[in-house]
């Protein structure tokens, strides 16, 4: 019963936060809403006994990704009012698609026949059951192939990102360290004698 109350409260917060991400005018607010939704879903996962995933979600997404995101949002001068006109232009069509998707979701949720007979209801584990340990055991034995593949995808992502962003174009302002080190005082500082000003 208590778990159910927790679930619905958190689910409500999650949905409100998700709506907030989309509707917030200020991109910083949107990013903060996104953090809220991540934290809430992490707690939902805790209710499902997925402790490790919950922690990773908070650490990776909230701790690293979203901080980076906020950085970028604050550094870029995002035009807050931009795109309003397009919103009204595309609103009817978007609304239609949203309505269809809601109907589909309703269909899926209420169609109880979709209740999947193959899956039995999971039994809660004991208190000393270690989610992390189990996950590690499976990850490095049964799913080691997929795990290694994921590692290669990350390597590919690094290569691709560097290929696409690092380039030497004319007029690029970069530091020339040797020049900076070799500089003498006379090159930069000029001592100017001035008369003391009287008001």
């Amino acid at each position: 019963m208590l778990a159910l109350i927790y679930f619905y409260t958190l689910a409500f917060v999650l949905v409100v936060a998700a709506v907030g991400v989309v509707t917030a005018r200020n991109p910083v607010h949107a990013a903060l809403f996104l953090i809220l939704s991540f934290v809430t879903s992490a707690i939902l996962w805790l209710l499902l006994e997925a402790e490790f995933l919950a922690m990773v979600l908070v650490l990776v997404y909230v701790g690293a990704v979203m901080v980076l995101f906020l950085f970028v949002v604050m550094m870029l001068d995002v035009n807050v009012e931009g795109g309003r006109g397009r919103f009204t232009r595309y609103a009817p069509f978007g609304g239609l698609i949203a309505a269809i998707m809601f109907m589909e979701l309703g269909f899926v949720v209420w169609w109880r026949n979709l209740g999947l007979p193959v899956m039995e209801t999971p039994v809660p584990h004991d208190a000393d059951y270690s989610n992390t340990k189990e996950l590690g055991a499976v990850l490095y034995t049964e799913h080691v192939y997929a795990f290694e593949l994921a590692a290669f995808i990350l390597l590919l992502a690094i290569v691709a990102a560097i290929v696409l962003t690092m380039r030497r174009r004319p007029g690029l302002k970069t530091q020339v360290v040797s020049e900076q080190v070799k500089i003498r005082r006379e090159d930069r500082v000029r001592i100017v004698k001035m008369e003391a000003e009287k008001d």
Partner: protein, 470 residues
Amino acid sequence: MAEIFLACGLCVVLVVDLFVSDRNRDLTFSLALIVLIGTAWISWTTGHAGQVLTFGGSFVSDPLAQLLKIFSIAAVFVSFLYSRDYLKQRNIFKGEYYVLGLFALLGIMVMISAYSMMTMYLGLEMMSLALYAMIAFDRESPVSGEAAMKYFILGAIASGTLLYGISFIYGVTGSLQIGEISAALTAGAMNETSLLIGLAFVLVGIAFKFGAVPFHMWLPDVYHGAPTSVTLFVGTAPKLAAIALAVRILVEALGSVGHLWEPMLLVLAVLSLAVGNIVAIAQTNIKRMLAYSTIGHVGFILLGFVAGSHAGVEAALFYTIVYILMAAGAFGMVILMSSNGHDADRLDDFRGLGRRSPWFAAMMLLLMVSMIGVPPLAGFYAKWWVLTALVNSGHVWPAVVAVLFSVIGAFYYLRVIRLMYFDDAEGEAGAPVAGGWLMRTVLSANALGVLALGILPGGLLEMCARALSG
């Protein structure tokens, strides 16, 4: 295992490339080719008749995987050979191009050998990520950037739908492994509604990867916008991965519910035939024209699956291999035409080619005629076997539609031939095609390969049959 060798090899290429100056990029290039040859050799020698599963049933090694792997390695090899001069002239002859290409090949090979939905998805992502970066490789060109962006966004959506569909199938059958899914489906009564939802989403993902109508929007833009050597890459090897995806998911995993996916596939196939062949007529850019012709050919490949019989899948496999051979030649021709600096991708650039360089005009003639499907060439047998399989399984009207649209499609292939032989070149475009010996040899071999395969199609067909009987 060939994948391990490829993965190590590409890391070596990546590191060696760091220490090579821009003038000696040929070293990276040849190293990449050596890695490809090594990978092909390992794939060739480790082949065997039966089906072997490893890694908890997520990796499969069977004759189908071997065949597709060797052909995709060959396709990548050929596209690397074509790309060298093209990239050099545009100052984008960088080692990373080949590293990304090898990454894409790794993804393709993972997909081909995937026996679980999870590895399949990972391979797909690896391939797609590498392709996005390759399309945007020429950063000076805004068209390339736009093409990459479109492909990236649409590709991400397609991956999402594929995953969503996979999650439904997992929910119904309780497994991600192809063999277990198939066993679960044959064993008991399933909830058809949720299976159908999952199936529809998975099919959207597959159709997107193939470029079937109505999920073809990315194809013309990507083919047009990407540097031609990348277009050649995108148009060849990934199609083999797509057919592997289709065979594994539709035939091996969901084969017992064929009555559910065949109608959907039929609609996709007929629409692709119609849109591909009709819209291609209106194109003035040869890359766009070939993109639409791809869509038309994809319609044929999908029809092979619609037939639902063993022979149909075999014909689809044969068609795909023949198609990538023809596409490699056709895009290679565009690259060859572009070898004096500017991109000769308009149809008008082919004017008077018959007088300027008769040999290459003849090669292009072979390729175009093969794409139409005229008897002594490979394209004919590909179409013939798909149609035979269709008629034998009782799908007569789709076969009639397919023939009808190929006749319509013949128009724009013939127009290329007319431009080459009966029109005169305008202005200064009258020079014969320039191009290194490498390009010339590869292209000639490619086009003559189409002819040879047309005269002696038995060997490849037998290989396809053996691969699928495994």
